[in-house]
Amino acid sequence: MKLWTLDRRPAAVLLAVLVGLVAGCSGGAGSGNSPGDASSKAGQATAGAKPGGVLTMARPREPDSLDPIVPTDNESIYTMLLIYDQLVRVAKDGKSVEAGLAETWETSQDGKTFTFHLRQGVKFHNGDPVTVDDVIYSLNRVKSDKKSGWADMYADIDTIVAKDAATLVITTKRPYVPMLANLSMFAASIVPKKLGESGYDFNAKPVGSGPFVFDHWSKGTEIVLKKNPDYWQKGLPYLDEVRFLLVAEDNTRNLKLQAGEVDIAADVPFSSIAELKSNPDVTVKAEPLMRVDFITMNTTRKPFDDVKIRQAVNYAVDKDALIQAVLFGNGKPANTFLPPMLYHDDAAPGYKNDVAKAKELMTQSSQPNGFKTTLNIASGDSLQNQVAIIVKEQLAKIGIDVTIQQLESGVKRKAFRDLNYDLSYQLMTSDVIDPDELTMFGGASATRTFWTGYNNPKVDQLAKDGQAETDPAKRAQIYKEIQKILSDDAPYIYLYYVPAANVTSKRVQNFTPLLTGNYRLEEVQLSK
């Protein structure tokens, strides 16, 4: 998941998502829909579009790292998903996984053995063939390399072995439902064993087997990817070249798009969406996203160790006002720590704005006369800045004096992870279709409950149970309970679920960010 990054994705489809429980889990033969030929897939040539061309996309930040096992930020993730392949990948509907380097797969009845049949004839960008050994190496790497930031998600894997040159078998000690979802993650990208073992720096020059080949990264300026002519989906990608421009200033991305200097502007300010929608030259892609924004409270510090105070601030913050003023109506109040996705509890009450109740809770709390505190936000992020200013004022009504502290995002993240803060604006997005990832990050104590310091053994146990429960109905119940506990104990000020805000010029065809926020640029075409 990416924790600190802006992303956008489509979530509206949630009803449908419920159906999708099947995705990660149930036994039986895997979906074998192998997109061996592009013409059979969504990427059919759109009328008026033609292959080739250079696509320029303006993004607000540059990646932290392009080594699959390292980063947690969305720019890294979305870039890597274009360069590397995984065994399986998130399907466009956001409800299931589909074939990647594995053409087909089976899950045993007990949910503990996963067998993958590898696609043959795929080559890495350096010309070497992708072998079962590369896959084993890559999965072991994310599982146990010291640099890996994602080892926890693969810790349940017991053995990874090659049955033959085209078959891989993964076993777990207990039933592990999120397995396929986790294997679709960027962290489980397949890299060449030969390079990896020689100490190769995948961040400096990534080598994968994905649709685009890394060309160069001018630090602080741009990243350029070139078409992979040997990509296993014949006919894709359409584009010759992709350029990711770093344009940090929010409005400049928007303006550059309108001026025709870029083809896609990522994360445009919500203030401009209404106006952009009326502009005939551009297309606004404000689609649902598996993302939740909140302000984390450091429960290891006074006074946020007091649950009454945490509930009081939740009642004091008016989410609807935030959505109107900052998101210009594009968003929904967050009612649980899970964004709209599989097992999200739509019926959970959340915290409706209620200043009287907030005041009452304050008088019962350890700080009946209010207190001073500090809210960390990322400098230069206009969304966080505006939210902070409004939250400051709303909390002042119940006697809390908030100082807004702007920190460079790396510095802010360090303070966050060191639990060296009072309040911090954070967000999570899911990289997978299964709620396990966000639950392990935002509910369980492995991350000190998303660095709030909140620690609840009951939630930890439920999260474990959720991973092993193969009955979808029971599983839904488990995640519902986790959401309820976290809502009542409120280690977060729940803010909202926001959609993606990508805007493209009219010549961009087929640009459709997934619910996970990434974009399959291999399917994008430019019209003449």
């Binding site: 300010p269 203030s271 003023a325």
Partner: protein, 285 residues
């Protein structure tokens, strides 16, 4: 500040005497008046949100419009004047005191003191002033926190050099004058000679320079805030306000435009005062 330089605004019009001095004083006085009496002049709060009136164009109710939080821009501009004028004055005055003292001592005594001071001046001048301030602030922010305090210290550390150069040159001339020799004969102490006699005659160029220095300090502070390194929102400050308005340039140009105009008016005022003072000195000669 880096290079002593100033712009003469209007030619000396012999007919009207000191009109530019008075006009400058009037402009600066008006800014001071507005900023100090802001709570009585404006019915609005400079920080409080009023989301229902967000992004309104200039009108009778909101003379300069409102920003994305519904805050009245005119109110914020005049409250910001308090902070910006204060920054301009302090950031010019303290380096002036340091620079005048060091420059006078260096010029008067010469020798190793002069060598050290002038070497520091040489090094400081070789680094672009804004770059120097930014690097100093980057380091200071680790010790005193980012924002205003590190900006002040950086300016105090670097800004005095211009004054030292100006005063040293003047003192070198003055100390050859007969009255200084006379003082020495009378047995006056060095301190008395420097600070009561020489400085009285050497200080005027520094004062004239200080007027444009104030303008440059205000520009510096607002630029730093614009870059997110100075005053932080929601505190009203001209540069920070302009930066906040960037996201709304298309829908609400006034958010960014108005604070810039306020800086312009203030700068005009101080520049006119500087001209007037320079005229007065020229006439005196």
């Amino acid at each position: 500040m880096q290079t002593p330089q100033r712009i003469r605004v209007f030619p000396r019009l012999r007919i009207s005497g000191q009109w530019n001095l008075y006009a400058g004083l009037a402009v600066v006085g008006m800014m001071l008046f507005l900023s100090l009496l802001a709570p009585w002049i404006s019915p609005y709060d400079p920080v409080q949100n009023a989301l229902s009136v967000a992004l309104k164009a200039p009108s009778a109710a909101h003379w300069l419009g409102t920003d994305n939080f519904g805050r009245d821009i005119f109110t914020r501009v005049i409250y910001a004047a308090r902070l910006d004028l204060q920054i301009g004055l302090i950031a010019a005055a303290v380096p002036m005191v340091i620079g005048v003292a060091l420059g006078a001592l260096a010029g008067y005594f010469g020798g190793w003191l002069d060598v050290i001071v002038m070497r520091i001046v040489d090094v400081t001048v070789s680094i672009p002033f804004l770059v120097l301030i930014l690097s100093l602030m980057a380091i200071l922010s680790q010790r005193v926190g980012s924002g205003l305090s590190s900006m002040y210290i950086a300016v105090f550390l670097a800004g005095w050099t211009a004054y030292a150069r100006i005063i040293r040159a003047e003192v070198l001339v003055q100390k050859q004058q007969e009255y200084v020799l006379a003082c020495k004969v009378l047995g006056y102490g060095h301190a008395r000679i420097i600070f009561r006699h020489i400085l009285r005659n050497a200080i005027t160029p520094a004062i004239v320079f200080a007027m444009s220095d104030i303008v440059m300090c205000i520009l510096l502070a607002s630029s730093l805030s614009f870059l997110g390194l100075g005053v932080k929102p929601p505190t009203p400050e001209w540069g920070a306000m302009a930066a906040e308005g960037r996201n709304f340039m298309l829908q609400a140009w006034w958010i960014t435009t108005m604070p810039g105009l306020a800086i312009g008016v203030t700068g005009l005022g101080f520049s006119l005062i500087g001209d007037g003072l320079a005229d007065r000195i020229d006439q005196g000669d």
